[in-house]
């Protein structure tokens, strides 16, 4: 009996370690390509440039190898979505969302990924609606909240990666500045409050609610006063509130909420409202007052570790290639490397002229994004995209861009071509 069964399993015995290393030694090329989408502060325009691997012999050349320009309706905030296959351009002040196929796609083959490169292109479908704002791309859905519409639009990420924009609308009880996110099989929406009487101030948003895709409440509202900002890391969704950071996970019997209250040893009177989630290690980085950041560990205590910055913060990012690292630009024009494990600044360098945080939040100031081993920074006053080494924090290259370069998104990576 056993003999027969063992035969039936048709097992193949191979020696560990021989693996696939040799399978692709011939007729392939390793390609690393990052493609940068940059929105202008004033003009309704997105410029796309390719960053080829740096050739240090000819440093200082101020051109991109290739570039493209696309028209939009207004000023854009850019998001690489659907695994980087598409870039979304959300235009809050102009009630529109444009999409561009990035022209870079990856096909995973287990031991390696193939990269395919073509020109970026505008997708014909343009979404319109009252004040689109937060965009959440997680769990196979790209979701845009319409702050004055009282609904969110859900787009299937896989279809979007093929250039198809099919929409499911999730209704909310009140229009508000919030977000809708997918957590496994669950839908979560922030909750707004009814419009206040003339001359009265609106009550703060009360929290986060699980809903059906038709917008019907499931279970109780999770209190998170003035909820703002959302990010995913590991099994967790996190959002900032007045009382702390609310986390949500998909448990076997539904969504599990947990309020991590700000501890007494953190500066008081300020809160977290923007959060980034790390990949690779389950940890978040959030803002905390104008000149602070907090490392948020959703599972283990201490849940909050504070990093004080020498100046007010302009923008901050996490490094997907090295999840322990983040980078923050402060208004004096310095870029700082953060170590999330140590909750400390481990390096600083001056990278641009100062940009004061006095004034409106949407004034033209630099924005930063990661591209592999480089930090890319728009420098609106200088009309430049600066390429800065993450390792040394030294400028490696500059790319001149027309107008006032502002928001940016980066797609791309490394793969093989056959």
């Amino acid at each position: 009996m056993y003999r027969q069964l063992a035969g039936a399993t048709a097992m193949a015995m191979v020696l560990a370690g021989t693996a696939f290393a040799q399978e692709h030694d011939h007729d392939h090329e390793d390609v690393t390509l990052y493609r940068v989408f940059v929105g202008d502060h004033a003009a309704p325009r997105v410029t796309v440039v390719d960053l080829e691997a740096h050739d240090h012999e000819e440093e200082g050349h101020d051109h991109a190898d290739e570039s493209w320009t696309f028209e939009t309706t207004g000023q854009v905030k850019l998001f690489g979505v659907a695994g980087g296959a598409v870039v979304a351009a959300v235009q809050s002040d102009d009630d529109a969302v444009h999409f561009f196929t990035s022209g870079i796609s990856f096909h995973d083959h287990g031991d390696h990924a193939d990269i395919e490169v073509s020109d970026p292109a505008a997708i014909n479908t343009v979404l319109t609606g009252p004040r689109p704002f937060h965009l959440v791309d997680h769990g196979g859905s790209v979701i845009i909240n319409y702050d004055q519409g009282g609904y969110a639009e859900i787009i299937d990420a896989h279809h979007l990666s093929h250039g198809e924009v099919e929409i499911t609308r999730l209704p909310q009880s009140e229009p508000h500045h919030g977000f809708v996110a997918r957590l496994g099989d669950h839908w979560l929406t922030t909750v707004g409050t009814p419009a206040p009487a003339e001359g009265k101030e609106a009550a703060p948003r009360p929290g986060l609610q699980e809903v059906t895709i038709a917008g019907e409440a499931v279970g109780d509202l999770a209190t998170c006063t003035a909820i703002h900002g959302e990010a995913f890391s590991g099994a967790y969704l996190a959002a900032g509130c007045r009382e702390g950071v609310l986390t949500a996970t998909a448990g076997a019997d539904g969504v599990v909420f947990d309020m991590l209250e700000y501890p007494a040893d953190l500066p008081q009177g300020v809160t977290t409202g923007t959060i980034l989630g790390a990949t690779g290690v389950q940890v978040f980085l959030g803002n905390y007052g104008p000149n602070g950041l907090v490392v948020i560990d959703p599972a283990d205590a201490p849940h909050f570790r504070y990093i004080e910055l020498p100046f007010r913060r302009v923008d901050f990012v996490l490094d997907p290639a090295n999840p322990a690292h983040g980078y923050v630009l402060t208004e004096d024009g310095s870029l700082h490397r953060l170590n999330l494990l140590q909750a400390a600044i481990t390096g600083s360098a001056k990278v641009t002229e100062p940009y004061s945080m006095d004034g409106h939040w949407n004034d033209p100031r630099p924005r930063i994004a990661m591209a592999g081993d480089d930090i890319l920074m728009t420098d609106p006053d200088a009309g430049l995209l600066r390429v800065i080494s993450a390792e040394t924090l030294e400028e490696e290259d500059t790319i001149a861009l027309e107008g006032t370069p502002y928001n940016l998104a980066v797609v791309g990576g490394s793969g093989m071509t056959h």
């Binding site: 069964l5 287990g110 590991g234 448990g251 290690v281 389950q282 490392v295 999840p323 322990a324």
Partner: protein, 309 residues
């Protein structure tokens, strides 16, 4: 004078303490999950400080590493991994920790089995999660392989702590003897079973090394997708296979939820015959807090279920 005397006592105590600490500084060992953590404890004994990242009853395939894990890795002298793409979270965790530790792959030198479908499925919160990999990573499910793990651990410890090497080797030899006894025990147990009662059903295809080593045939749902239609079709295929092979018992698993299995059991007219420990030990109160206990428990409940008629 009294101050001075106190200082002599206190200061020399301090000196002694720090000298002692320097000599007794344990080897910092990080094991990726509970089973190889247990091997490491057997080989390292008192000489190591051990942290296992994925704890009892937890599924390494879906583990989300925490900042504390990265910090443990940063301080580690030796990191023990299964390899064969079992710990999908490790590459990034190693990168983010910046660890300088030797990363030992404990399946090195083992004859591994290919994954026929390029991977296997896990079931968490009612969902099937595909774990891609060219080789079946569950090599510890054969005791002969466990001995190879233990040899690799001793070699890794010796490389990092030459002074402790004789101790590690004595411990490894002693433990290998215990593994030989275990192996003979499992063979003896299976030999008592009727020849036509050797087939059981599990949710997650983690027992193929056990199958080859000990001759118990395991059926499991293959290629169950999260699309409900496909899931129905595949369960139907499994039910047919259960009937054809006369599979006599169906087992829950400590790292998976039982929803899918309960459905299969109901459709096949079987009842759950117990819990097997596949990719993680139990907690200290459970029936499988060590590898030896785990393998005895698994073999015991399988034999009991197949012997039941």
């Amino acid at each position: 004078m009294r101050d001075w005397l106190q200082c002599i006592a206190a200061c020399s105590a301090m000196t002694f303490a720090s000298t002692f600490a320097a000599q007794a500084e344990p080897l910092n060992v990080v094991a990726t999950f509970s089973i190889i953590g247990d091997f490491a404890a057997e080989v390292g004994g008192e000489r190591i400080a051990l942290k296992a990242l994925v704890g009892p009853d937890s599924d390494s395939h879906v583990y989300e590493p925490r900042p504390a894990d990265a910090m443990a890795l940063a301080q580690a002298d030796v990191v023990l991994t299964n390899g064969l793409e079992f710990e999908g979270f490790m590459t990034r965790l190693i990168a983010s920790s910046g660890t300088q530790a030797e990363i030992a792959t404990l399946t090195d030198g083992i004859e591994t089995m290919e994954e026929p479908g390029g991977g296997h499925y896990h079931y968490n919160n009612g969902q099937a999660i595909f774990h891609a990999g060219a080789h079946d990573p569950h090599a510890w499910q054969s005791v002969a392989n466990a001995k190879a793990y233990v040899r690799n651990i001793a070699a890794a410890f010796c490389a990092a702590d030459a002074e402790g090497c004789p101790v590690y080797e004595i411990n490894a030899t002693r433990y290998a003897d215990a593994l030989d006894v275990l192996d003979a025990e499992i063979r003896g147990l299976v030999a008592t079973l009727p020849g036509d009662r050797r087939t059981v059903v599990v949710a997650h295809n983690a027992f193929r090394y056990f199958e080859v080593a000990y001759g118990i045939h395991f059926l499991s749902p293959q290629g169950v997708s999260t699309e409900s239609e496909a899931a129905a079709a595949d369960v139907a295929g499994l039910i047919r296979e259960i009937r054809e092979t006369g599979a006599a018992a169906i087992f829950a698993e400590n790292i998976s939820d039982t929803r899918l299995l309960e459905r299969i059991a109901a459709e096949a007219g079987l009842t759950l015959a117990g819990t097997l420990y596949s990719d993680a030990l139990s907690g200290p109160e459970g029936p499988a807090p060590t590898y030896l206990a785990m393998m005895r428990h698994n073999a015991g409940v399988i034999a009991a279920a197949l012997d039941a008629i």
